[in-house]
Amino acid sequence: MSMTTEATINELATQKYKYGFTTDIEMEEFPKGLSADIVRLISAKKGEPEWLLEWRLKAYEAWLKMEEPEWARIHHPPIDYDDLYYYAAPAKAQPKSLDEVDPELLKTYEKLGIPLHERAALAGVAVDAVFDSVSVATTFRDTLAKAGVIFSPISEAVREHPELVQKYLGSVVPVGDNYFTALNSAVFSDGSFVFIPKGVRCPMELSTYFRINARNTGQFERTLIIAEEGASVSYLEGCTAPMRDENQLHAAVVELVALDEAMIKYSTVQNWYPGDADGKGGIYNFVTKRGACRGKNSKISWTQVETGSAITWKYPSCILQGDGSVGEFYSVAVTNHFQQADTGTKMIHIGKNTSSTIISKGISAGRSNNTYRGLVKIMPGASGARNFTQCDSLLIGDQCGAHTVPYIENRNASAKVEHEATTSKIAEDQLFYCRSRGLSEEDAVGLIVNGFCKDVLKELPMEFAVEAQKLLAVSLEGSVG
């Protein structure tokens, strides 16, 4: 477009990722590469019980026999799994309280806008901060404990609540579900554990902030959230990483369990480093997230705003087992430059009168590729099941791609499945209209895109909706021209 726009594009392409700094801190790393010994080392480092080591080793064995999935619309050079570090953590002993956390780390999180001191923290939000392979701080634990809520690093939960972890770990996402879940199960080092007991509404928003810092290190976190009968919780995760030329692997597993009448709302603002404007560097985000609505009238709601990562491969799903259970998936996926996203959901209707809603908004710019891939499966017993799916794609420029791949398997005649899809472009007249009212081109794109995503953004917890809006605008900076 105009000359000034081009100038800003170049400027922004190099500047816009403001979380790209690195933290200089002494790290403890295990040798590169993956072997049964590395798995044992990780397990020993965490002082894990024998059953968990066995579990990990089985996962490792399974992984050795598996292949990377190839069905997604993504492309990348082969990953050398022997050239990765599988464990990296700040060298200093794990702090017992916030006052003992390394000041460098506190500074890092402050720079990321996540102050860990409770007095400075966002009101009403408890944070678990995961730095590379370990959790470095968890705030408001006492407040939560009073309500009976457990919110802790998963490695600690393994020690302190082994019966809960053993009961639920791998019960939603089996170890051998796919290549990356097997890998994660073998080497996961930390992540968050949340337990909301019967009848308790969690008094605060819970959030985990994932930060990759170390070079050549994979991050394999594991999150497990359990809401007992009648319990409810809203949980949010955020993610950032330094700007590096080489790609980094992030292969997480998230499992949610909702019992009778329980509700889990899980929101993600994913802003891993996307690579530069030429497609160099960035995170490979290969993530498996699944929630089981085990109880009647339980509800699991996924909301995701995916703006980062060189490649995003994730399908947060719901298994609607309990009668009357509800699954929701609200997604905004933005790709710019050379980013690739293949994301969507699976809604598996098993119980009677189960219902699911899927709203997906894909925005592609630059030379990126953005695919919605979704499965709605109605099992024979799911009488009265209902699904509504809406997939909208917005294209900016003409070198990007948007693809919609909906799979529907309906094996119950009484079920109702609706699917709507649209593809549109930001029209020149919309941009001009906004600019003639004083908005810069970038702000105009931001406004139009936010309008396009409104149905999803309104599902985010209030505190994060504004952040997400800004993030959308920033991710698309330099996309018109």
């Binding site: 004083g438 908005l439 936010n450």
Partner: protein, 247 residues
């Protein structure tokens, strides 16, 4: 003051404006009339900076500055406002949010303080009331599902809030019922002062009963072919444009 001097502009290979010369002193309102396809909307787009129009000759000075070299948003900050002949829909963008974002973008560019949500809402509600619009207009998405007349009124709402120094109204009166017409005229008339001027494009003399122009120009075949006092509009209404096409 707006001074358009020998302005030539083309779209692709077609020359649409073929030497428009026109001066609107501060505080004055001028009307432009002329046959369909004469280039009236083209002139308004060129002045406000829409892409796709190539200016091949001439200039347009607004208070001495050549606005043709400015980005559209900078022209808005300089005080230019175009009420679109066909207002554009922005799905999912709330009207109030759009208005406030615009106003604050302009204020920022001018080095003025931004308005907070409360102050803005007060201003917006007053304007909505003045334009006899329903309050839910502010909550609805910009122009989405608006009737033709509602869209035009919405343009006037934006004008009332952005308070431009130079407003171009491109057939804002088309499709308006008689009450709405009076309200639009009143909207323009309340802005009328030494620091405000307007270019009113219309096909109908009846708007000019309510907004009495200082001058009327006829644009035909890409040129101003005749200019005169307000009474020219009456004359045109009787005789049409026959014989006025540029040679």
């Amino acid at each position: 003051m707006l001074e358009i001097k020998n302005l030539h502009a083309r779209i692709g290979d077609a020359e649409i404006l073929k030497g428009v010369t026109l001066t609107i002193p501060n505080g004055e309102i001028h009307a432009i009339m002329g046959p369909n396809g004469a280039g009236k909307s083209t002139l308004s787009y060129v002045l406000s900076g829409r892409e796709g129009y190539e200016v091949t000759e001439g200039e347009a000075l607004f208070n001495g500055e050549n606005i043709l070299e400015m980005e559209p948003e900078d022209r808005a900050a300089a005080g230019l406002f175009l009420a679109f002949q066909y207002p554009v829909e922005l799905p999912g963008v709330g009207n109030a949010n759009f208005l406030r974002t615009s106003l604050n973008a302009i204020r920022r560019k001018r080095g003025e303080d931004e308005l907070d949500a409360v102050a803005f809402l007060k201003l917006a509600r007053a304007a909505v009331k003045q334009l006899a619009m329903k309050e839910d207009f502010l909550k609805r998405n910009v122009n989405v599902g608006f009737s033709g007349g509602e869209k035009k009124r919405n343009e006037m709402l934006q004008m009332a809030i952005l308070k431009p120094h130079l407003a171009i109204l491109d057939e804002t009166d088309s499709g308006l019922d008689i009450d709405a017409l009076k309200i639009v005229a009143e909207g323009v008339n309340t802005l009328r002062d030494e620091t405000f001027s307007a270019l009113v494009i219309t096909h109908y003399q009846r708007l000019l009963d309510y907004i009495v122009p200082d001058m009327v120009h006829v644009l035909a075949g890409g040129k101003i072919v005749r200019s005169g006092p307000a009474s020219l509009a009456l004359e045109l209404e009787a005789s049409g444009y026959a014989g006025l096409e540029a040679a």
